[in-house]
Subunit: 420 residues, 2 copies
């Protein structure tokens, strides 16, 4: 299990913009009020498989959920609980079993998980969110889960944070955590996040879970809108294998303990906070994409010159989702024909004779026609991580970026024998 | 290069319905009036790479083309030529080079290919269809093509038919050919077809070419409608890797030399002819799906109980297109969670608690809930070819079938090094 963090791998390490600073050792318990824990309860063979984030006070909370029709039981429980008053004070997560397609019993299990965590913490059940990830269609081993919940001793330190980050993983090969600080009204506000990804990552969302903690004071509707628009530009722009899972959820909890004026779109530091929040989620999304099952490289598809944001996103998603592009990147084969082909079937009305493509910054297609380029140089660029593909549609000023990974032998190996 | 024919592999061999008889050794030159040829002209290293079908008379012709925005030059040429009077008398095809994304020069090359074939045959250029398949973005080696066109000596026999069938292949591992006879007004009418497929096969169409010859007398609009509806239920229901190519085309030529009353929807033998025509195309589509790059098995997804035909098709396509389902079939892993997951993200409004799934005829999910089944037995069923997945939505009476193949190490191998 690697403990790498994306920000140290893609050249953005220690990045500090005018607006926020990246914290080198991410800690989801760093925002005021938060504690975390992660234990092994036995759903998985050896690894940590039960995690908890808890807040000293009810936190303003927003969440986005999978669009899959077969929404798993824990999501239903979380969604309806959050509707009570828009606040949560804890979230309990297990890995190894998705508690999806488990019928009425599965819903009862999720409610029981919620109730037992609430009792241990001493808060009302509706303040506890529930999340699960893993195999579909099997009942949760509730005896193990119940025992594990008793053993969760949330702490405010980086080791507890890391236990939590570990406990939510399935086939992930590394933890995904990001942490920034941003000034609001002169106060240092913390925004941290942890995520799990790997297989079944696809717009819109997938077997991915994201947990954001912050001590910002923020109006509920502002957090809700911010999470939704951020999700559209980050988690909904990543693709590993085109499948959207039953269990995806991103949840953001704001303790409000930083003590500044409440944030909303009109607050003078709103832009700074929103940028920091976006950064945390984008880094988590990229970390998920890079750690796609069997992946050796992150692919970044940047579409510019689109007539609308939606068109830019749709084009970028078509290219990032192409198995042929993904295998070409794995083989470092500058086969731009596959890229233009994906642009062509994206259902976006592009001008067929007016598309530019660059791979690794090297122009290979101009006005839909191959330019004279050094193939060896492009192939060399495709051996590096990440591989950046630029597509200019020359239709307008909108742009979008999508992230994915290459398709490799290991993807096939992992997924042809997931359960056996 | 295997010379197997799908009909001998999937239990339908020598199938003879009340309406038509399957011919054991398919021959696209069997319909009255047709001849064929295939030669090696040097676009590919060793294999046959230039083919011709020619008819003694202008044939009533219908065609369907890729929906990819970057439609390749030969398709444009064929499409505009067919608009002259709805007839064609020949079709010339090369493999190894798609003549796509080749700009104005590429279009000139396609017109030249058409003109040179027309001159050799002695017919007007607009009676010659042109098709190309292979690498995108490189100019056709016109000297080789021109020389090859001179060498095409079309014959009316099975060996010439097989040369043609070979000449259109790219990464295909076997030729795809089907042939039936059907009685119309007491006359034996022949319907034969050849196709190429492999990578980039996806609704709607892909790097697939289909050529149907028949000696039926048929009204142009009837042939047009029949080809279109047949394509929607056959070629547009197969998926290998989700990519749709720039070069797809299916073209059907009817010489009219069988000499019966002209077929149209009101002809007493219309149903028999349409069934035979559908069979030829469905068998070709299945042969393409089974021969997907790296495939070891055909997957057949049958959706029943849908509220509309469109919903049935969309659901079937979502399941057949899932990389996770495809790898599970490769590994013979009865992971029905991936199937229900794909149903769930198909955007079809299914009832989440009312879906049945069977794998290899063994029920595994009833009312969206796992049933008690013998996992070893299902795993065993998944080792056989084809693997049939049944999905019942319990919403109505519409149904659809989609075909695809498993996702294997060889798919990755082939596509990560296609050109190098």
């Amino acid at each position: 299990m690697k403990n790498s963090v994306l920000t140290t791998e893609d050249g953005n390490a220690n990045e500090t913009s005018a607006e926020f600073s990246v914290v080198e050792e991410p800690d989801v318990t760093a925002p005021r009020g938060f504690r975390a824990a992660g234990v092994h309860c036995g759903v998985r063979r050896k690894r940590l498989d039960l995690g908890l984030i808890v807040c000293d006070v009810p936190a303003v909370t927003a969440a986005v959920y999978t669009t899959n029709t077969f929404q798993a039981a824990p999501l239903k429980v979380t969604q309806s609980s959050l509707q009570v008053d828009g606040k949560m004070q804890a979230i309990v997560v297990n890995s190894g079993n998705a508690n999806a397609c488990t019928g009425v019993e599965g819903e009862q299990d999720a409610y029981r998980m919620q109730a037992e965590a609430a009792r241990v913490i001493g808060i009302p059940p509706h303040y506890v969110g529930v999340a699960s990830t893993g195999v579909i269609g099997e009942r949760l081993p509730m005896d193990k889960i119940s025992k594990g919940i008793q053993e969760l001793k949330p702490q405010k330190d980086i080791s507890a944070s890391d236990d939590f980050c570990q406990s939510i993983l399935t086939t992930d090969t590394c933890v995904k955590k990001v942490h920034v600080t941003v000034k609001v009204d002169g106060v240092d506000v913390q925004v941290a996040g942890a995520a799990k990804g790997s297989g079944m990552i696809q717009p819109n969302m997938a077997t991915m879970l994201g947990f954001i903690t912050t001590d910002a004071v923020i109006e509920p509707s502002a957090l809700e809108h911010l999470l939704r628009s951020t999700t559209d530009a980050t988690y909904n722009m990543i693709a590993v294998d085109g499948d959207t899972s039953t269990n995806d959820m991103v949840i953001a909890m704001a303790s409000g303990l930083a003590g500044h004026q409440a944030l909303h779109e009109g607050h003078p530091d709103w832009a700074a906070f929103a940028t920091a929040f976006h950064y945390v989620n984008e880094q988590l999304a990229k970390a998920i994409a890079r750690d796609g099952e069997g992946a050796t490289k992150l692919i970044e598809v940047r579409v510019t010159g689109a007539a609308s944001c939606e068109m830019a996103r749709q084009t970028a998603k078509a290219v990032i989702g192409s198995n042929l592009v993904k295998t070409a990147v794995f083989g470092a084969d500058p086969n731009w024909g596959r890229i233009i082909c994906a642009v062509g079937y994206s259902d976006v009305p592009v001008q067929p004779d007016n598309v530019d493509i660059a791979i690794g910054g090297i122009p290979v297609v101009r006005r839909s026609f191959p330019v004279d380029y050094d193939e060896a140089k492009v192939a060399e660029a495709m051996k590096h991580d990440p591989v950046v593909i630029d597509v200019d549609l020359h239709q307008g000023k909108e742009e979008a970026t999508a992230w994915g990974c290459d398709l490799t032998y290991d993807y096939v190996r992992i997924n042809s024998s997931y359960r056996t």
